[in-house]
Symmetry: C2
Subunit: 148 residues, 2 copies
């Protein structure tokens, strides 16, 4: 399966930010934005509501890779469960922007399942032991552009 | 109940972005960041994984207000259900940043339940009919700072 075979997320035709000027971002552009992303937000469901946290990532095709500490809260939350990854860029002054959302499944993966080249692997900003590799594989990719 | 009475979210002691240099953001600073926010991300649970979308908001104490169209997908998703609101600012070059997460419950509210003054009410960027006011009332507020 390639990124281009994935179904689009059903388009939200309006929301509080983007309505009359909202246009769907073409899939190649979504994938280009994702490929360039080095930070973004991972989201997962908890009883008190979704948790949304900034993370360092590397994106390889339709796979989002991140690294955390084994036994951590994040590690437990991203083990064989639905998870999403989101990036956006908003210009409050111009009232323009875009966002891309990946909805998928998070799993722990082995070194062998990581992208082949070190430059394609996630590198966290801060020090510490983060031996656990996590992959969010996309089931849906959608993007939106607010044209000013 | 005031914002300062709310329990903190349990602190994630590490994640892929912030580990050894992660510090908890003091609650007054969380609330100050929220009060100044005009955009952010709303998150809610869906069967395919959490949906995270940019929105225009106004924050009044521990209440996040946004406006959308009655009958929209967003309106249905934010009706008497858990929802979260997130803001962050990340500097990839300096590898520093902060984020604030509000976990709460979303409800439709009447005009009478909105903040008193028009300047405190949400104003979407784009035109169109958005007659439905939504409030996310915080159950938990947490923030984190990455000090470089």
């Amino acid at each position: 399966v390639t990124a281009h075979d994935l179904p689009h997320a059903p388009q939200t035709t309006d929301d509080a930010l983007f309505q009359s000027q909202l246009v769907e971002m073409p899939r190649p552009e979504c994938l280009r934005k994702l490929a360039l992303a080095r930070t973004g937000r991972v989201a997962f469901d908890m009883p008190d509501g979704p948790v949304v946290l900034p993370v360092n990532v590397r994106v390889h095709g339709i796979d989002i890779f991140l690294r955390t500490a084994a036994g951590s809260e994040l590690a437990e939350a991203l083990h064989d469960r639905p998870a999403s990854f989101q990036i956006d860029q908003l210009d409050e002054y111009r009232q323009t922007g875009w966002s891309v959302l990946v909805q998928g499944t998070a799993n722990w993966v082995t070194e062998a399942e990581l992208p082949r080249y070190p430059s394609e692997r996630p590198v966290p900003w801060a020090g510490g032991e983060r031996s656990l590799n996590i992959r969010i594989r996309a089931n849906r990719v959608s993007g939106r552009i607010l044209v000013g």
